[in-house]
Symmetry: C2
Subunit: 250 residues, 2 copies
């Protein structure tokens, strides 16, 4: 398996044809998978915003005040309003805003990016990343994964994850398959789109030297059952259940 | 960047020279990184065990009874005893045993594997995976990552993670670096060993057709600050704090 950054992409702006910009620079082969950072997908889709566009509701004011009290840093209630707007649920309001986006991705601040936006305050995640992946996949003729980077419980640091995908299943299901000794495997469902997103993130880099698109070549999903369930439902997520009942002690 | 499975490794058994078995099959180049599944590291280190070796304490009995009541499946209290033995802390006792191992890895059942063990009931994780990685790295002459696969909150499916590493930092620190427009990056610390472990897991496969060692070629840590903090302390892990106060409703 090879992972290669797509070199020479220009800065992507509102309305740019992202698929064409990538397609011009890659001679795709059968079996290739294209991983594209959500930042450029959002830029092409015009998902930037200014804080002035958000009116601070009472809830947003309260959240910002509480975060200020806990963190000792000044917080803009309009940013809290933007996070609320982009979120289906706030899993925690303090010590930071852990959110479930409207499409199911659990991340801090609804994945709103305050860096890497040339001409606005905020870059929002794509509204429906799997729809974006579908459009890009149909234009490029290969499966597409829209990626984000986010932190996680239990482990420090961020890693690449998939927030949208089209043209391959999200997960590879090993259920019923067996090990060398004929015992049923403990590992049953492998979240391959997240592993592909992590691979892409290794070669994509960040910021000025970064490239937002990576081609994975020579990897095959293989002859396994597939699943598109990636975002846990609350019923299947005890951490989400625990967070619902938890309050940070101030 | 290329990821290639090490082909033709024999079944590894207690006392086998794992580094030699890998080294004979790979012509390592400068900059290569070798990812090795914890299963074969454990086998070479004789970390297998039989349930009969574990005496069910009162706590193990109580845990097994509670799991039986919740899951409706019969549970062996000696397995609960094995998990307790391998754990520094149980984050949850139900609906399953979410544990922090003695070396800091948060995973279900302390990562004890009931499949893929030819001649015993259980395969335990290496006692100190970074020590194992150090031995293997010194023998192979390249950085080594010892990998595991585990599930996670918020997202379905398992993915490869690093549980031990030697010869490279666990994380790449972008703090103070800037994007194309000179803004400070939102993403600050990238858990590269986990992303490399995820990459390896994509090509390693599982079970009978699986290969436990993968060579990553053509990836560079680059000129960034590094960090070896991978496992969160409880103070830095609100999910762990929330789980401590949470009880599954029965």
């Amino acid at each position: 398996m090879e992972a290669s950054p797509v070199e020479g992409l220009p800065e992507i702006r509102d309305g740019d044809d992202l698929a064409a910009a990538i397609g011009e620079r890659v001679d795709f082969e059968d079996g290739d998978i294209c991983c594209i950072a959500s930042t450029v997908v959002s830029k092409a889709e015009g998902r930037k915003a200014d804080l002035a566009a958000f009116e601070a509701s009472d809830r947003a004011e309260a959240i910002a005040k509480r975060l200020e009290a806990i963190t000792g840093e000044s917080k803009d209630p309009r940013f809290a309003a933007a996070v609320l707007e982009e979120s289906e649920e706030l899993l925690t309001e303090a010590p930071f805003l852990l959110t479930a986006t409207r499409f199911g991705h659990v991340t801090v601040n609804a994945g709103i990016d305050r860096s890497n936006v040339p001409d606005a305050d905020l870059l929002l995640l794509p509204e429906n990343p799997s729809e974006s992946a579908k459009r890009l996949s149909e234009a490029l003729g290969v499966p597409v994964i829209v990626t984000d980077t986010s932190g996680r419980p239990f482990r420090y640091g961020q890693r690449g994850v998939a927030i949208g995908w089209h043209g391959l299943p999200a997960a590879r299901d090993w259920r019923g398959e067996h090990d060398r000794d004929g015992r049923e495997l403990d590992v049953t469902v492998q979240a391959v789109v997240d592993e592909l997103a992590a691979t892409a993130n290794l070669v994509a880099g960040e910021g000025g030297g970064g490239t937002p698109a990576v081609v994975i070549r020579g990897w095959s999903f293989g002859d396994h059952a597939g699943s598109d369930d990636l975002f846990r439902t609350e019923a299947d997520d005890l951490v989400r259940q625990a967070l619902r009942e938890w309050e940070v002690s101030e």
